[in-house]
């Protein structure tokens, strides 16, 4: 390993820790894939009323975010919804 690689490369230990943290958030939230699918479909239905979205490209997951208070990180629902057309449909 070269001198500069030491700064570039993250140890696999940190990778394991990051992956595990994400994994445990969804494990602890007890969110089944079926439940996530239901949430996803409902979101598509609601947003579709107002704009045209790319349902295929929609990505939702439960992650962690730093809370504004000082009680550390809290679970958060993250949704990335690509918009095709923002014009109102009506």
């Amino acid at each position: 390993m070269g001198f500069f690689d030491m700064f570039k490369k993250k140890g696999s230990g940190d990778m394991a820790k990051d992956r595990l943290k994400l994994l445990l958030v969804s494990d602890r939230a007890n969110c089944t894939p079926e439940l996530m699918e239901m949430i996803k479909n409902d979101i598509i239905n609601v947003i579709s009323k107002y704009m045209e979205i790319d349902a295929e490209g929609l990505d939702i997951q439960i992650t962690q975010t730093e809370s504004e208070g000082n009680n550390g990180s809290v679970p958060a629902l993250y949704a990335n919804i690509p918009i095709r057309d923002i014009k109102q449909k009506i």
Binding site: G11, S12, G13, R19, D27
Partner: protein, 263 residues
């Protein structure tokens, strides 16, 4: 006052049986009256790790079904007269025992022993439910790997739901050389993620393999793992023991070779 301790992990192969054997033997070394119970019905292992496989006549299921008295099924350890093993049945399955029966069995043993240590099977099904039924506290064994820690987290949740008084963590098979170069989660990382009290860390040590081959628990010998297990025994009894330096070899030669490796 006697205590019933279940050794559990969720994932298989992380060292539950080795931990049970060493903690049980260590507590016996410290003059406690100890009984080890192998609750893994159908896949019995603790007898082999203890080197007592040739002495089995009756087993756990025999006691529960009333085929024999408790005294007949308990095997006295070779080295410590105050240590006993209740082996599991090899030819039966987990549904032969219910949580209520296990509770009754551990209650009976409380009268004569200071520590009743239950070696729990892997998984979260019937065998796990049986093992935790009569327990006051739990020792969770994990290794610094994503899969083992994930399962441990699940187990901690299930134990909380069952209102055990106390759960402590053992981080097993840690390799300080890998932690140092950032390729393994540290003990602090694991404790931080799981959020329960650490009762000990055991290094990945060749002497564990050798001791298992011989059927002689290594607790209390001068190997690093042997010392780590002995410290865990003191902590189980509530004593405070300083943390062991697990990085091991600090001989002059290894220091010199470390200097050259750094290049």
């Amino acid at each position: 006052m006697s205590e019933v301790i279940v050794v559990t992990s969720g994932k298989g192969g992380v060292g539950k049986t080795t931990t049970s054997a060493n903690v049980g033997t260590g507590l016996a070394k410290l003059d406690k009256r100890v009984v080890l119970i192998d609750t893994d019905i159908g896949l019995r292992n603790l007898d082999v790790v203890m080197g007592l496989e040739n002495r089995i006549v009756y087993n756990l299921v025999d006691v529960i079904e009333g085929n024999c008295r408790m005294k007949q099924a308990l095997i006295k350890d070779k080295r410590y007269p105050n240590l006993c093993l209740l082996p599991s049945a090899q030819t039966r399955d987990k549904s032969s025992v219910t949580p209520e029966q296990m509770k009754k069995l551990t209650e009976e043993l409380r009268e004569e022993y200071d520590y009743i240590i239950l070696d729990c099977p892997a998984g979260i099904e019937q065998g796990f439910k049986n093992a935790i039924a009569g327990a006051d506290r739990a020792i969770i064994v994990t290794t610094p790997e994503v899969s083992a820690i994930r399962d441990a987290d699940r187990i901690i949740g299930l134990l909380e739901a069952n209102e055990l008084k106390r759960t402590d963590l053992i981080v097993n098979r840690i390799r300080m050389d890998m932690v140092k170069r950032g390729d393994m989660m540290s003990i602090a990382d694991v404790v931080d993620i799981l959020g329960i009290d650490l009762i000990g860390a055991v290094p990945d040590d060749e002497s564990i393999v050798i001791s298992t081959n011989q059927g002689e628990p290594l607790v209390g010998d001068d190997s690093l793992a042997g010392q780590a297990f002995m410290n865990i025994c003191y902590r189980v009894m509530g004593e405070e023991v300083p943390w062991l330096d697990l990085s091991g070899k600090s001989s002059l030669w290894s220091k010199i070779s470390d200097i050259f490796k750094k290049k």
